[in-house]
Amino acid sequence: MKNDPGFYDYWPYDNRPKIEWPGGARVAFWVAPNIEFYELDPPDNPFRKPWPAPSPSIAGYSIRDYGNRVGHMRQMKLLEKYGIRGSISLSTALCEHHPEIIELCKERDWEFFSHGIYNTRYTYGMDEDQERDMIRDGMETIYKHTGQKCAGYLAPALSHSELTLDLFAEVGTELFGDEGGIYTCDLFHDDQPTPIHLRSGKKFVSIPYSLEMNDTIAYVVNKIEPRRYGQIIKDNFDRLYAEGAENGTVMCIPTHNYQVSCPHRLKAFEEALEYITGHSDVWVTTGREIAEHFIKNNYDATLADIALKKEVS
């Protein structure tokens, strides 16, 4: 085990080279709906129990199924209303289980990125070949069903190994060259994209995917009241928008169809989306577009700045 994952350098949020988003926007704003499939009876993993309750875990399973049966259409309609294309964090087995959802999102030109096969199959305990196979399966499944060359990764149920990011980038290159495997959502250390060190040396970035804005973290872990969640989103935006006047920032709202699309929560979420998209100078975009823009325009300057700031003693 390591004392530090070694993915990135200390890079102070102070006097950084300016990120200019398209059209002079202050904030690159993206919404990442997690569209997940949880298995009712998944195999055991030695490091993590899939369900806390005795089997069959009706409460946990059925509310997640609600997300796909009921919640998805609500959220999709709402995002459409405010001109937002979702960047889907996808349990890729959903392509087989619920192809209707995939088609609806394809028609709207949403981005699909990999969130593993099932959210009940964890990376823990896999050796390198197994994890590479699982990652490749996910990326190939997305390509087969959507024609998209998967750019991003959020490990299933946020379960990682030390090699997760390396393997994802390598499989991306192997399958799709520079178009595949270019960003991760697994790290929460910054409000701007950051270059990630990989053993392959590939240009690869971490894109801010805020756990604090994540509806499951807000509702299940932090137990926040729905209207307060809406307010927190607005507050988060206000600060990133203000700072974005000097240097482009990224704001992400990661969602789940079984959280934010529940009848008692949708209104607060809608108000927040209306508020954010009601501002000018907001680049409403996707994870891939942010990553590509940063790699093309800011990646090298960022490395140079990091190197410069390392020299301060």
């Binding site: 009876d41 289980h97 199959r121 070949d129 729905p226 209207r227 009848p263 008692h264």
Partner: protein, 305 residues
């Protein structure tokens, strides 16, 4: 050592669900349903009347709302009992005031212990749902005598019921793999443990189909106030926001159901009953709302399938 190879094999990875209990179906793909009088939202209020034994075994899990302290946990025992002595009568008055037709899911053992309360429910012509024997009799895979427990639980309600007991809510919403079969065999027609829909749907068992009725866990008083520790004010806002959203959706997509699950030991407290009254007034003032029992909703739904 790597994981066993089977961990990367996905035997259920194909169209639809990963089990045979019900068909995969998106709500928006279903036929629109209309409620009597062209109402948009069927409001189903279900009150759980529960007995929490002081000598709780907690097998295989402790029930939600159960004892947490070393024996004898007088604190939780008596606070839950408060609901059946005091709180429920506040709820009944509120239902009368706002014209709410509620149903009652009753533990069999509670029915035996509180004949006065049960007679009051019978006088009201209320629909009763089986709710297991008591809150410490959890249904699970290795449960002994499940069929007998279900039979006993239903029989305890029959003398107070105006009709057969057709509905079921499992204690803590826990089930074993074969609980749906046992419920169907005992004459149950609908149950409300699964929370994967906002409308009724058909649920398969080896003994013929049940109907799954939507009774939100997320909007349950216990979940909002006790599990999430949200304020009473937020409880009211969440119900109102939910009703508004479902009514708007119903206008485009056909009738919806708002299932409110209440516990008199939560909402019957002096500082909470006013919030419940405010919510009921808000809902019942709306011309789109139809207050109905589960069986009424189900019968209208069935006739349109």
């Amino acid at each position: 050592m790597p994981l066993d190879r089977s961990y990367l094999e996905y035997t259920e990875r194909s169209y639809g669900m990963d089990h045979e209990r019900y068909d995969w179906s998106m709500l928006t793909d279903r036929k629109a349903v209309s409620w009597p009088g062209d109402k948009k939202l069927a409001l189903w209020v279900n009150v759980s009347l529960q007995f929490f034994p002081l000598d709780q075994k907690g097998v295989p899990v402790k029930p939600p709302g159960g004892m947490t302290m070393p024996y004898p946990d007088l604190r939780h025992y008596s606070l839950r009992d408060y609901g059946n002595r005091v709180g429920i009568y506040r709820l009944l008055k509120a239902f009368d005031k706002y014209g709410v037709n509620a149903t009652y899911a009753v533990n069999g053992e509670l029915a035996e212990r509180t004949p006065y309360l049960m007679a009051a429910l019978k006088d009201r012509g209320a629909e009763l749902l089986g709710h297991g024997w008591n809150m410490d009799t959890i249904h699970y895979n290795d449960m002994e005598g499940e069929a007998d427990v279900i039979k006993k639980s239903i029989e305890a309600l029959l003398r107070y019921a105006t009709d057969d007991v057709k509905g079921w809510l499992s204690p803590g919403r826990y089930e074993g793999d074969k609980t749906p079969e046992a419920l169907k065999a005992a004459g149950i027609e609908y149950f409300c443990d699964w929370v994967n829909d906002d409308m009724p749907y058909v649920f398969r068992t080896d003994n013929g189909p049940l109907t799954a009725m939507p009774l939100s866990n997320e909007l349950e008083d216990r979940f909002i106030l006790l599990s999430n520790l949200h304020s009473e004010q937020s409880y009211g806002e969440q119900i109102k926001d939910a009703a508004d959203m479902l009514i708007a959706e119903a206008k485009e997509q056909g009738g919806r159901v708002l299932g409110l699950s209440l516990h008199p030991w939560m909402m019957g407290q002096p500082h909470r009953i006013g919030v419940l009254e405010d919510v009921l007034e808000y809902l019942m003032d709306k011309e789109e709302v139809w207050s109905a029992s589960a069986s009424e909703i189900l019968s209208h739904w069935r006739n349109q399938q």
